[in-house]
Structures are given as C-alpha cells and as structure tokens.
Symmetry: C2
Subunit: 533 residues, 2 copies
C-alpha cells in the first residue's frame, strides 16, 4: 500500500531501557495520599507537540518524551494555562467516558447511588482527623476571597471528600436502619502537586470517589475488598491491564485509613502505576466527626467506613501499558474509534465508486454498534492516514482500493500485529460476514493486548531472597517480589537506597513458610517492590 512508516515497530520484553532519566530523590516528605506514588515525575514542563506530521519520539529512546508526544499527537490532552493543569481533549475524554460508563453501572449493581457534595470544605474540617490533615495540608488549594470579600474561614478546594462526607453522614445516620449508606460521586479534585504529568498527576483531576458507612467492621471490610475487585476486573477485562491487586504497607496506607487496597499496574517502562485504591477507614472519620447510630440493642455506635477511587490517571495507565513506537494502541473496548476505513484511489474516476462502497461499509459496521470512522478526506495520502490512525491507536484498519472494489473485498490490518502478519487480504464485504469478522477481530485484539501485557509483566517480576538481589533487580528497572516481615524503618531504607517502594502485598500469595529477605524473620507474605509513578 506504500504507507510511509515513520518507525519500524519494536517489541519490548525487558526493562533495561528508558531508565536514563531516572534520578532517585530519596525519601520525600510528601504525604501518603490516595493518588500516592512517591518517586517524582520528570520533564512535565516539556512542551507537548502538536500533531500534523511531527513524528513522536521512539518509546525505546525516551519513554517520558514518547508519552508526552503521544498525549499531544493523539490529541488526548493539552496543558491548561495554570501550571500543572490539563485540558482533556475529546479523544482522551472519550476513553474516560468508557471508564465512567463501565464503573458507574457496576457501582449501581452493587447497591451504590450517585450524589454530589460541594467542593468547598471549611478548613477546620480537614484538621479534624489527625493523619488526614498531615497527609493533605501540604497540597491544598485555598479560596480566601468570595464575592469580593476576604472570607472569615478559608475554604479548601476538595482534595478528597471524606471530611465533608462525614459531616453530612452525621446528619443523616441515626439508626442501624439507615445503614449501610453507600454512595458515589463523579467529581473534580484538586491537589497542589509540584511535579505533574498529563493524566498521571495533575493539579486538578477527575475521579469517582465512593463512600460507605456500615454497622460493623466486617461489613466495611467486605465492601472495601469488593470495590477493589470491581477495579481489578475492569482493568483486566476492559483496559486489558493485568494489574496486581493487594494490600498497601502501613507507610503507603491512605491518610486516615486502617487498610488500603490497591491495584498496581506495570507500565511499558516497568514503573508501577497505582491505578485505583479502596480504603477500609475503620472508625477514624466517624470518631472525628461523631458519625453514630443506634444499634439494634439501643446502643450508640460509631459507623465503620470505606472510600475508594479511580481517576483520569487510568487513561495514562492505558497509554503506558499498550503504546508502542508508533504511538497509542487502544484496547478495542476502550477505543473511541474501533475501526478506521481508508479508501484508496489513484485515478479520479475511481474515487466515486470507492467512496460509495466505503460509505456503505461504514453504515454496515455502525449498524452492528461498531465505532467506525471513514477517513474520506482528500487532503492526505493513504500512507499519511495509515500512520495517523496507527498513532491514534485505532485497533483495526480497513482499506478499500480499486481491486477490492471489483472483488467486493477489503484488506483488514490489525494495529497490534505489525507488518504483513497483521494484514488479511480479500475479506468479503458481505454485510453479515464482515460484521461478524470485525467483531471477532476486535475481541482477538482485546485478548492479545491483555496476553501481551501479562507476558510482559510476568517476565519483569523477579523473586528475590535477599536485599542484594532486590537491589540488582530494581537497578535493572524490574519489579522485585520477596518475603517481607520488616517495619517502616526498613521500608524507608529500601526506598532511600533503591528508589523502590512496596507497591503491595498481593492477595495472590503462595502457601508455605517464608523468611523475610531483610531481617531473616519468619514472614507471612511476599511484598512487591518497584519504582513507581
């Protein structure tokens, strides 16, 4: 077809690249926040390129630059005028909408209702829960002037809503009959981050935050685990990201929680991305805010709570899990455009017939609820279009040329399989056949991206038996997994010396006796260590 490939596709199965820019900054005083991730981000002030012809930096050359190039060239996001803010552009926002639609339905199925809390929180609220204020106060945005007047009490622009939620829950909960109270809100939140990166960490971001109150600890715990499972399932089945679900270490637990559960994703540079968290809050907030109920025996009790969140960061996770040197690769279920049709003509008299057939095909696929785009512009060559839509990560391309027209066939190219291996020639355009064929291919691509990500993940997690082994593995840019029964002090030491933190104690633990690789003490669990976003 004569497509001018910018770069030949590369396959990455190891992590020994892209680490050049990594500078370990040691322990950061930064608080344990929900969107956590302790190592700093780099280069966020680099300008985003603006598509049209500019090629993207190869992933193998500079992962961070590649990421920023993809975000800009695929028109996923742009920088806002205020430092650290992000404008989510339609193509990026559509991915967020798929995340929203799936999760919103799951939240409702599991008994939660949506509602909305104000984003302005009296400053005094934040101070009520001791570890919460410690965690969030360094990164607050404060409104001090309203309607032209200095305010008596500063207002916090919500960084998360536990405090205001508890203030309201205290008004609404009286009896055990009012429990469980299970709600969710889709909202913007603000955290004054110093090192930002589109989607991954921005001053303002979008998320959902679930908040529940229960009569017993067991029920709250069950809820927290249920919601991390919802996130895990979403990641596998929709985003094709094989996250590892587990429990955070004490040092990495959310400010104000008893236990934090997390899903950790391995990005293309092998760094970990905390992609969602669910917190078992215990009675910390209900004690601070006096959220009580009368139980069945007439006794006053404090409620047990959870909170859980997934944010626009997930979009960054999708980009960095699947992308390659050519740009974005979207799992079909997350793709705003699943199929692009590129008509190809040389002589002007071929054009009309080909466009006519391309348009018929477009409608056939639309009828089958396939998200399809016909790129019929005559401003660009087919080769330019091939590159452009590959860069945009469209899973499937259908080409129709003069020969196809006479044969009533098309050429179908898979985004995830480069070169000739990903091309199928002479595919019949017959309506029911092509519908089924395209659907099957999209499912295949969805599975193939997941399988590839699982293989990548598994080949980059190394079991370690000693601290020396861990150091080697981390220095190679991989994840280390080893038995751990040490405390905060040793965890901080690992972080300072290697840049890696405990990402989680995975739920999936092999049985048998273990020995902590740090202290030699008996250990119950293995922990996963990695550098992270």
């Amino acid at each position: 077809m004569g497509a001018l490939r910018l770069l030949s596709p590369l396959h990455f199965t190891h992590c020994a690249y892209g680490e050049r820019r990594t500078e370990v900054t040691g322990a950061r005083a930064r608080a344990r926040t929900r969107s956590s991730a302790i190592s700093p981000l780099r280069s966020s002030s680099l300008p985003l390129k603006h598509s049209e012809g500019e090629s993207i930096t190869p992933r193998s050359q500079d992962f961070n630059m590649w990421y920023l190039d993809v975000v800009a060239s695929a028109e996923l996001a742009d920088y806002g005028p205020v430092r650290g803010t992000m404008v989510i552009r339609p193509y990026g926002y559509a991915i967020w909408e798929f995340i929203q639609t799936y999760l919103d339905a799951k939240f409702k199925e599991t008994g939660h209702s949506n509602m909305y809390f104000p984003q302005f929180i009296p400053y005094s609220f934040i101070e009520k829960e001791a570890s919460h204020v410690e965690g969030f106060s360094p990164e607050l945005a404060l409104v001090t002037i309203g309607g032209g007047k200095e305010l008596e009490e500063k207002l916090v622009v919500r960084p998360t809503s536990e405090t205001i939620v508890n203030h309201m829950f205290t008004k609404w909960v009286h009896s055990y009959r009012d429990l469980p109270l299970m709600i969710n809100q889709w909202a913007n939140v603000t955290r004054w981050e110093m090192r930002t990166k589109p989607f991954v960490r921005t001053l303002e971001f979008l998320w959902q935050e679930g908040h529940t109150a229960h009569a017993t600890e067991e029920e709250a715990e069950k809820e927290a685990l249920q919601m991390i499972e919802v996130y895990r399932k979403f990641s596998y089945e929709q985003a094709a990201i094989p996250v590892i679900a587990g429990r955070k270490s004490r040092a990495e637990t959310f400010a104000g929680a008893l236990r934090t559960y997390t899903i950790e994703a391995m990005m293309g540079d092998c760094k970990a991305l905390q992609a969602g968290t669910s917190h078992s809050l215990g009675q910390n907030f209900s004690l601070a805010f006096g959220t009580q109920f009368t139980d069945e025996n007439g006794q006053q009790q404090h409620v047990w709570q959870t909170s859980w969140a997934v944010s626009t960061r997930m979009v960054g996770g999708i980009i960095m899990t699947h992308g390659d040197d050519l740009g974005l690769r979207l799992p079909p279920r997350m793709a705003p455009i699943q199929v692009v049709i590129v008509p190809i003509w040389k002589k002007p008299d071929e054009k009309r017939g080909i466009l006519e057939v391309a348009s018929i095909l477009e409608n056939i696929l639309k009828e089958a609820s396939i998200r399809v785009k016909l790129d019929d512009s005559d401003q660009k060559t087919p080769g330019w279009k091939f590159n452009f839509w590959e860069m945009k990560g469209v899973p499937l391309r259908i080409e129709i040329g003069p020969r196809d027209l006479s044969n009533k066939t098309v050429v179908v190219s898979r985004r995830d399989v480069p070169g000739k291996h990903g091309k199928a020639y002479g595919i019949s355009m017959e309506s029911s056949f092509i519908k089924a064929y395209v659907k099957e291919k999209l499912e295949e691509i969805q599975s193939a991206l997941l399988a590839r990500a699982i293989a990548f993940r598994d080949s980059n997690i190394v079991d370690v038996k000693s601290y020396e082994e861990l150091k080697t593995v981390i220095s190679e840019g991989k994840w280390a997994r080893g038995p751990w029964a040490s405390g905060d002090f040793e965890e901080l030491k690992v972080k300072e010396e290697t840049g890696a933190t405990i990402r989680c104690f995975p739920f999936d633990q092999s049985p048998g006796e273990k020995v902590c690789f740090m202290t030699g003490n008996p250990a119950n669990e293995v922990a996963i260590f990695a550098k992270s976003y």
Copy 2:
C-alpha cells in the same frame, strides 16, 4: 385502605397566592449572568426539615416554605456546610442523571464531543472581555494560596468557561478545516451568590456548558438556535415543562454575547424560571483572545462562537412546575422510581403470600425496564407508605391486599389524579397485561402533567395593551405579554416599578402590526414580562 392524608389536594389555576412574601427590591446592580434572574430569592436560610413524619407546608400557604420542605422531605438535597452550597442527595441526583443522559445523547447526535477544561482560570483571563469581567467579577471565588504558598496570580474558580475555552481554541484552531469546533463539558461552576436556594441558585452548581467556534456568523447563529431547540424539546418531552423559547432583551443578554436565547418556565407560583440559555457570542471572545483561522482564501478571520448551558436548576424547575400540596410530582420519564408496590396485610398469615406475589410483580415490571420499588418494610403502615411515596412524587402506586391475592389482581393509583378518580381496581396481574398497562399509564401521566402545565401557563399569561394593564397583571402575579419597542431605560423603569423583567421575546409571534404599549411606537414583537427566580 385507611391512608391518612395529610392534606387534601388542591388545584391551582391562578396565581393570586403565595405573593405575600414578595418584596420588590428594585434594580439590582447584579450583573447579567448566564443563570441570570434578577429578582432576589428569599428565605434561603430557613432550615430544611428532615422527613419522617413531619408534614410539609401546604403549597397554597407558602410556596417558598413548601419548596424547601419538599426538597428536604423528599431527600432531594441538603445544605452543605459552607453557606449557599448544596449537597445533592441520591433522589435528587438521579433526576439530574436523567437530564444528563438525555442531553448528552442529543449533544453527540448533533456533532458535539465532550471534553474537560480546568476549573482554575488566571484572573487576567476574566479581564480580557470587557462586559464579561463587568458581569462576573462581583461573584467570583478566588484561590490565592496553593501548596502552602501565596500565588503570584489569583486564580478564579470558573463561573463559566468562555475565557479558558477561547485561550485553548486559539491554540487549536488554525485553518477553516479545524472548524466547526463543537464541544461540551459537564462540570461544576462557582458563583458567589448572596441569596441562594437549593437547585435554583447555589454557590456551586452542576451544569453542562457547550462551546462552539464557526467560520461564519450564520453558522454560529444556526447552532445557537439549534441548541435552544434541544433544550425546549427536552423540557416539553422529558420534564413536561412547557417552556417558552425566545430571545432575551439586550439588558438580559449574557455578559459577552451578541444575542441570548432562553427557555422560560412558569413555576407553580407563576414566577418565571430561566431554565436554559444559548448564546450567540459573535466575535467578542475571539477578538479578545485572538482566536483566528485562515479561511479558504488564505485570509485571517476571527471565529464566530456560541455557548449554551443547562444546570441543576432544571431540577428545581421540575419540582416547582409539578409539585402540589402533597409534595413532589415527578413526570414518569424523570422519576427515579416510576412505580411503588405497597403490599397490605392485616393478619400475619397473609404476609408471606402477599410479599411473594409482590416480589413476582416487582420482577415482571423490572423486566419491562420499569423503575419499580417494592416497599416491603414492616416498620410502617400502608397508610404511612402511601403518604410517603406520594410526597416523593412516584407517579404510580400498586397496592396488593389479601382480596387482590385471591383475585390475582391489584389496585393501581395515579399520583397525578387525587382520590378515587385516580384509582383503578381489579387490574389483572397477568404478566404481559400488567406490563403494558403500567407503561400506558406512565405515558398517560407524562402527557397529563404536560397538559396540566400548559393549561396553567396559558391561563396565567395575559395580553396587555398598556403599561397600566401590565402593572395590574404583574401585581396579580401573572405574566404579561405585550408589544414592545422600547429601550433599556423603559425596561429598567418597568423593573423598578413592578419587579418584572422581560423574560423573552418569544419565537412564536403572531403576525400583524403592533404598537409598543410603553411608547406607542410601532413594534415588531411582543415581549413577555414576569417576576422571576
């Protein structure tokens, strides 16, 4: 059935009540803002009652207290901790979700994409468009501290996004090929209002704001008109609110627009509610922000723009259009619960069989995608439940008692038709019959609420031929419609002397020569005057 009615239903067909509390405050310096409405709100600091047994103030006695009681008792919203803020509770939020779902689909059908702009806007942006800053500066919330430090430039928490949108459009638009640019965002906005009222006017509210850029004035004008038509259709067909669509007077035009189109709704107390607006912005913002494109002749041109919005205020409009002395009345298409099933038993041995059948019926209706709730609690009497669900505005109630059980029938009661006339006895529970029956009844209720609202509206708009007539009509609490060809000065005079403003010049104009009732000059159009929220 023994339902204890709190109050007998009243029918209102005139507006000569509820005006006791109205105090005309004369011209307010308040700027012409999108959510506009110039007369102040009263009593917003009254406490919201908390359901459970407390009866609501009769609508006929005090419309404002009735409204606040309904909002509280039906658990639609609650006050947030910061003055003027509102917590939207699940029952109220579900209504907003119906609004969102419908409009979002329409926006996409008409070629718009969703995206998201940051809510923090540099203060200098607001100053760029002269009338815009004049309109919005008195009601801004300003962030002055971020991450513990005083900011160099104050940040405005968005009151609307035209400025930041134009800043970004200027980066994205280069050629006529980039146009039209048609986007929408669902977001929260902040306006430092002094007189607030749940849903109707709050310090922070939720809305959608559409923003488009076009190559020609004609195209922008067409777009602005298309979107007000989307809102009008939504109001009629979904919310059963017979709004009057038209053009705002110059004095009531959005700060920065050439023309503002509006849908004006008549509330149960006959006051007008501006329920949605669409602005033809001309080149005001593109000139201020340098948003230019190269046209087909290679010439630099400034884009022509529109913006349009509907907010959570619409929920207030639904409450105040349809509610009656018993509480809320929801149009079936906007009802989170369309049907409530109330099982009735006296002897304990009846209970099991009745609950079993009630549960079967619940599932039958769910299968038909009817939003149904089975109220099977044994904490409350059937009479209490009748009152409660009537107060919550559920369109249809199904009662199942022991006699129904043996007859395999149910009793069906319409919320909108009080007393025996609204009851149908002996309705067969046979699956396909009851599904069709319930669907038909819901459609009937939807139509009946609209028809009733149209009749109410039309009986409260009076054509006037002189200023004296207008004064009388306005003092009776009605809307006055009359030929108008006067200027801002006369409009202000009417406002100061009567409390009424021009709500709009309706699109629907009768032909023929007209004479301005104020000046006696020839007039092209009639205008509608009313007091408003």
